[in-house]
């Protein structure tokens, strides 16, 4: 049997570096296509950022349009946007006149990352632990408990959990703030809301994969070698079992770290999750574009991390 440590050693070399580099080079055209499609799609939506219930004076409207380059043909606006984007300038926000889109993300993104990052870590540790436990005690009450709770956790949407948590722990018990942002106490309920469904999903994934892994040849071989069972399970079985979790984590991490509309709205958290919806509804073109760019970057980076992790975990995967 080939040890996983040796496989990793052969991969950390040039092949690995070239692979990551290639992927980054591939990300640029991907991002370009995403930006292009998003740019023209949002412009197709009827209405504009300056359409209000009470129409603006035509002269003011003209001035506004000139200030934001709306008087130029669309392709020129697109080129201007691309030029600014290349310099890291996401433009001014149309609906929040006092802020540029970069300002909004500079204050909002750390909040979302903090919240999503902690929720994700907790979900990963607890979910994998519960899933493995259930798999090892398959068809016992432990297993039924985990599977039952997980199914329950997946079916209850966050827009139900969040207000219930806020009402129970915030209003009725008074243990934690019902909403807002600032201290660690403010983070407990939103993190729990974000983590719970993820724990459920990860536990189920881990359980299924672990059961399968325990029956696989390499685990049977490890057992036959007489390795202690914690090594068999912890090193050999779990390593294979974690693969589906890792591939699930890519898009999930990107989604969690870029904020949740529901959780941010219900708990009143100043993250970036709401900007996508607020921007789209307010026809805040630059804000929508900014959100698209940020989320796309996260998705690309996390997919890359997942692929690298995959090869490390499963030596059969090669960077070709």
């Amino acid at each position: 049997m080939r040890g996983p440590g040796r496989a990793w050693a052969t991969l950390t070399g040039q092949a690995m570096f070239a692979y990551v580099l290639r992927r980054f080079a591939g990300a640029v055209p991907t991002l370009f296509i995403i930006v292009t499609i998003a740019f023209f799609m949002i412009r197709l939506a009827p209405g504009g950022p300056f359409d209000l219930e009470r129409p603006l004076d035509p002269l003011i409207m003209k001035n506004l349009e000139r200030a934001y380059n709306f008087d130029k043909p669309l392709w020129q606006q697109y080129l201007i946007y691309l030029g600014n984007l290349a310099q890291g300038d996401l433009g001014p926000s149309f609906t929040r006149r006092d802020f540029s889109v970069v300002d909004l993300f500079r204050t909002g993104l750390p909040v979302s990352i903090q919240l999503g990052g902690i929720a994700l870590s907790i979900a990963l540790v607890v979910g994998v632990f519960l899933g493995a436990l259930a798999a090892l005690r398959q068809n016992t009450w432990v297993d039924y408990m985990v599977v039952g709770t997980a199914t329950f956790g997946i079916t209850i949407p966050t827009f139900v959990i969040a207000p219930v948590f806020s009402l129970f722990f915030g209003v009725m018990m008074g243990w934690l703030p019902a909403g807002g942002w600032g201290t660690w106490q403010h983070m407990v309920l939103p993190i729990a809301t974000l983590a719970l469904p993820q724990i459920a999903i990860i536990a189920r994934l881990t359980r299924g994969a672990t059961i399968e892994a325990l029956r696989s040849n390499h685990v049977r071989t490890a057992r036959a070698y007489g390795l202690p069972s914690y090594v068999v399970v912890g090193v050999h079985a779990l390593r294979a079992a974690i693969l589906p979790v890792v591939s699930y984590l890519g898009p999930t991490a990107a989604a969690l770290l870029t904020g949740s509309v529901v959780v941010e709205t219900i708990f009143g958290i100043p993250g970036i999750g709401r900007y996508f919806v607020q921007g789209a509804l307010g026809r805040d073109y630059t804000l929508v574009m900014g959100t698209v760019v940020v989320i796309a970057c996260f998705v690309i980076v996390f997919n890359l991390i997942v692929d690298v992790l995959y090869a490390w975990l499963d030596p059969r995967v090669r960077y070709d």
Partner: protein
């Protein structure tokens, strides 16, 4: 930011809060009791209610109407429903022969159970209206009100039937169309109105219109019998309400009511400098409007707020303006 106001802007984080700190250079700084004010935006009114109940915010400037019953039962005096500078009324096309007689219009007005509309249809977010100008305007004093404001609805229905008979309208002979723009509450209001009119022998049909074309339709002298409209005052003055029905105001005079006496009174008021004398003239104009009834006022708008017991100095007012410089917090 340079300001000579009571507070200075300290911090503004979108979706989080706007923080204002007391301005030490403010001329009356000694009497400003609250040092820091946080204005927190809430997309969801229910969230504000929860944080209010948890004692994290002292006041919510808007209410979740779906939870009105709960708030009434649990928050007591902390729930404030105050008259707002707005009126919800029914324009009647006076040019139509069947509606030309003021007695007919008055009878319709009598038969409307405004308390039912306010409490049941609008869940207490509206207040029964017996005048066109909302109460609480400083330079107006007591309103001109409808004489049957205090009468029981059953007595009013009898009086309405008598009035219709006097006007030569036999029971069941009058059919009118009730038109409203899209909106759950408007629709329910019209359905309730239709029932109320049936009680005095007037048949009615309900027609719904999309919001965008609706007001234009009324402005352009559309062929309606009775519609609904609302008016929120731009500033706290009776003229800002009464001018709507001057003969020349074709943009807002949906009933197309023309009355030389009314116009004369409005002109006279415009030329009167003495504020009390002016108020008297405007009151005369309003009385005439209510007598002729080209529009039927049914509800006043209200402003709803949650105000903590600990927050002192909050005074309800028709403009719904509340300066923190006049408030204080009890520990």
């Amino acid at each position: 930011m340079v300001t000579n106001g009571a507070y200075m802007l300290e911090n503004f984080t979108p979706n989080d809060k706007i923080t204002m700190r007391k301005n030490p250079h403010f001329h009356d700084a000694d009497n400003v009791k609250i040092d820091v004010v946080n204005f927190i935006p809430f997309e969801d009114r229910a969230t504000c209610l929860r944080r209010f109940e948890a004692g994290e915010v002292h006041s919510c400037s808007d209410l979740d109407n779906q939870q009105m019953d709960y708030m009434k039962a649990n928050l007591g005096e902390q729930l404030r429903i105050a008259p707002y500078l707005g009126v919800y009324y029914l324009p009647v096309k006076v040019k139509k022969e069947k509606l030309a007689d003021p007695r007919v219009r008055q009878a319709i007005s009598m038969a409307i159970d405004r308390e039912f509309l306010a409490d049941e249809i609008w869940r207490g977010t509206m207040i029964p209206a017996w005048s066109f100008v909302p109460p609480g305007i400083g330079n107006y004093g007591e309103n001109a009100t409808l004489p049957y404001a205090e009468d029981d609805i059953l007595d009013r229905e009898d009086a309405a039937k008598a009035l219709l008979e006097e006007a030569g309208v036999a029971e069941g002979s009058l059919s009118i169309e009730l038109r409203h723009n899209t909106g759950e509450n408007h629709k329910n209001t019209m359905t309730a109105l239709s029932d109320m009119l049936k009680n005095i022998g007037i048949n009615s049909t309900i027609v719904e219109m999309e919001g965008t074309g609706y007001f234009d339709y009324m402005k352009q002298d559309g062929d309606f019998d009775m519609t609904r409209a609302g008016w929120i005052g731009d500033y706290s003055d009776p003229q800002n309400f009464l001018f709507l029905f001057e003969s020349e105001n074709l943009g807002f005079n949906y009933p197309r009511w023309e009355n030389a006496d009314y116009d004369a009174l409005m002109d006279k008021a415009a030329g009167t400098i003495d504020i009390d004398a002016r108020a008297e003239i405007l009151k005369e104009a309003e009385a005439l409007l209510l007598e002729e009834m080209p529009i039927i006022p049914i509800l006043y708008y209200s402003s709803g707020s949650l105000v903590s017991d600990k927050l002192n100095g909050w005074e309800d007012n028709v403009m719904n303006v509340h300066g923190t410089r006049w408030m204080s917090i009890e520990q």
